[in-house]
Symmetry: C2
Subunit: 452 residues, 2 copies
């Protein structure tokens, strides 16, 4: 980020100097250094200090900036911060925000505090929030804001502009005017640019765009994200089942949905079971890791028990044991590759199911090709490295089978999870590795048993 364009940069030096100012209650320095700094930059600063320290410097800022920072904080930090405030103070902050942000923050508060804050909200905001709180957080109704600009179909452009002047006080940012009939049924939209370039005497009915994409209140957040991405929208109107306009969702909320979704998927692939960040507490970090590690351990114990069944073979030819890591690692890698490609396909909204068979046949051919290349190479390497002709053959046959089977399991598992309503990304993590470890061992020892 450039000094020249963004001005504020949070350096270690600044943080230390700021800490000193906080310790010394040097209000002049604090006010001075935060003047003209954007709320989003001060938000980053809040993460560097204790809630008490943050409260101290935040209270030197305007109430608008304070509320914007609180809106942008992550939910854990916000909870800790708001704990230091009484309900009246929280209500004053929330009165600055849009209905959707207010509803989100109310959701996080303890029930008793929530009720008291609620009473302190301004009447309009209170009734808007009451409606929003009815929806789940991960559907369109839970994402939308109530504040929007609406124009009646029978207005003129000049009437429309007058109304916008009145309504705009309550709506901080807007890019579209929604056109409705007398009963608030959504008919279309009017972009601000159309409004600016149109003759003032024209009727809304003559210039509005009928062809409008909207979403319904119960649509899931990722579906809303797909719709907005597909049609390249910066805001989308939300209608109820009867088609009446009830809110709007803006692109910034959707950018958050997309980012969170990617993060969640990565955590699933990495075998982390709750939403955790590296700088969370040691205990939280441990707890997030343990479940998948336990499953891996369970798989490992089953592996051990299974290998025990072949003790006689192992005693006869110890070198058999040398190649279990090779077989298992390859099975794991192939499984992860296959499943993550399927997860990617499933995430594509325009994905038309080619049919299970067509897909499996293709995966099969890819596996055969990879299998042939790799098992030939391994065969050659083993002959050179170990001079064990029969064992080398066994390893290569087992490797080839593992590649084919692991591709199959890697492909089919996410599809099954998806069919039963689970997140298919679950299959791209330790689950597939654990399964494939066992699979690899079974195939290997089966081949050993047959040939060696």
């Amino acid at each position: 980020m450039e000094q020249q364009t963004l001005e504020f940069e949070l350096t270690k030096e600044f943080r230390d100097r700021f800490q000193q100012a906080l310790d010394e209650r040097d209000d002049a320095f604090i006010r001075n250094s935060l003047q003209d700094v954007k709320a989003a930059d001060i938000t980053a600063l809040v993460y560097e200090f204790t809630p008490e320290e943050s409260k101290y410097f935040m209270e030197l800022l305007s109430i608008e900036i304070q509320s914007e920072i609180i809106r942008d904080l992550d939910s854990e930090t916000r909870k800790k911060y708001l704990k230091l405030h009484d309900p009246q103070a929280i209500a004053i902050l929330l009165n600055q925000l849009l209905s959707d942000d207010t509803a989100d923050i109310l959701h996080e508060l303890p029930v008793k505090v929530r009720e008291e804050v609620f009473v302190g909200l301004e009447p309009v905001l209170r009734s808007q929030v009451t409606e929003l709180l009815r929806y789940e957080e991960n559907v369109a109704g839970g994402l939308m804001a109530k504040e929007l600009i609406r124009a009646r179909i029978n207005w003129t452009v000049v009437q429309c502009v007058d109304e916008i002047r009145k309504q705009a006080e309550n709506v901080s940012k807007f890019y579209q005017v929604y056109v409705v009939d007398d009963r608030d049924k959504l008919l279309g939209r009017l972009s601000l640019q159309d409004l600016i370039i149109s003759d003032a005497r024209k009727l809304v009915a003559d210039i509005y765009e009928k062809d409008i994409v909207s979403v319904e209140t119960y649509m899931e957040d990722w579906e809303v994200a797909e719709v907005m991405k597909k049609y390249e929208l910066v805001s989308v109107p939300v209608v109820n089942v009867q088609g009446y306009l009830v809110g709007r969702i803006t692109i910034d909320d959707i950018v958050d949905v997309i980012t969170e979704q990617a993060e969640e998927e990565r955590q699933m692939m990495a075998g982390i079971s709750e939403n955790v960040e590296e700088d969370d507490s040691i205990w939280r970090n441990t707890r997030a890791r343990l479940p998948w590690l336990l499953i891996g351990i369970l798989g490992g114990l089953m592996n051990a028990k299974f290998m025990g069944l072949f003790e006689a073979e192992l005693v006869r030819v110890t070198a058999i044991a040398f190649f279990t890591p090779l077989i298992q690692a390859t099975g794991g890698n192939v499984g992860i590759q296959s499943s993550s490609l399927i997860v990617q396909s499933l995430a594509n909204p325009d994905f038309v199911d080619e049919g299970l068979w067509k897909r499996l046949i293709k995966v099969f051919f890819v596996a055969i090709l990879n299998g042939l290349v790799l098992s030939t190479l391994v065969w050659g390497a083993n002959i050179l490295l170990f001079q064990e002709y029969k064992l080398s053959l066994v390893v290569s046959i087992a490797l080839f089978s593992v590649i084919v089977f692991a591709s199959f399991i890697g492909t089919i598992t996410p599809l099954i999870l998806n069919r039963f309503g689970f997140n298919p990304a679950l299959a791209a993590g330790p689950f597939i590795t654990t399964t494939n470890d066992l699979l690899g061992l079974t195939l290997y020892f089966f081949t050993v048993h047959l040939i060696l």
Copy 2:
């Protein structure tokens, strides 16, 4: 997606019926069924047919819709599709698009075709594109469009609106007017809503917002994405090093950047080495998978060679071999967890480096906790399952050490990659698993050697 709100749904039935219409050259059916369907929906249809078939039905659509579809296609499909057109026809399509999209598509064409298409572009577009082609695709200059609305600081609101009427013909979508001085130096911005609600006689100088975030031409795409996310912008002006306004980037381009970044990272984690999709050719799928599988195989061979050094021990106590999968799988899982948490931290733009030591000490404690829990459990399970007291102790000590070491390596590797300018996500994939397999084996056999 709801029939009611989005109308068009691409079903298998529709595809089959459409195929029939294409085979029979049933223009009436094609025209009818695509009437009032949005370009983004027709784009999805293009993927279902051969380039020749797509060309057939596309040519029944308006040139505006055709060019929009071509813009939205993925680059592979577009290349195949445009191969069927001569340069003049391509130029006609590109003349409908904004400068940034035109430049992107020109980039993809073979040099000879590119030159011929270039000659067919309208003069204004041609000069805009000439400038854009100078920039790398993954920096702000390569993402921006030249089309934007600018207002001079000394204009009145009414002058400004008049100019917008003139300029708006060339700019399809805009949300901001950029305020510049006589020499095009960026001074600030004016939102359309401010323009609508302001008195027509006011001066731009009195109502514009000075506090504006801009990016410079050489800023990388992910940095632009972070800036737009942080400040919740729908568009951002691009300035050159002297601060002159040269273009603007809109949020839809940034949504693409974010989505692609997440996909790339997932592919790295899954050990897929080129940007590939499941429905790409068998050969491409194979090629994308082989490199990482080969590295895994190499690791596997080293494992085998290493285990061979301990043949004497294995002959003495065969059961040692039973626990290598357990040790290695846990090492792999812990390594992936650790590295993906670091990758996540590094991706956070507000990340302030806590210092390597503080971080490592924390990772160490998390590892100790996980290690104690898991090795105690495994010890108990092994006593019950195998009744081998001494071996159970060895396994648990090795498991504990592996968890600690794998955490350390998983943490340090992405940091090192990042320091030397590589993508740290590289470390969250097969690389860390392969390393940790070897590490696990070494620690295990070392413990065996010491104690058993």
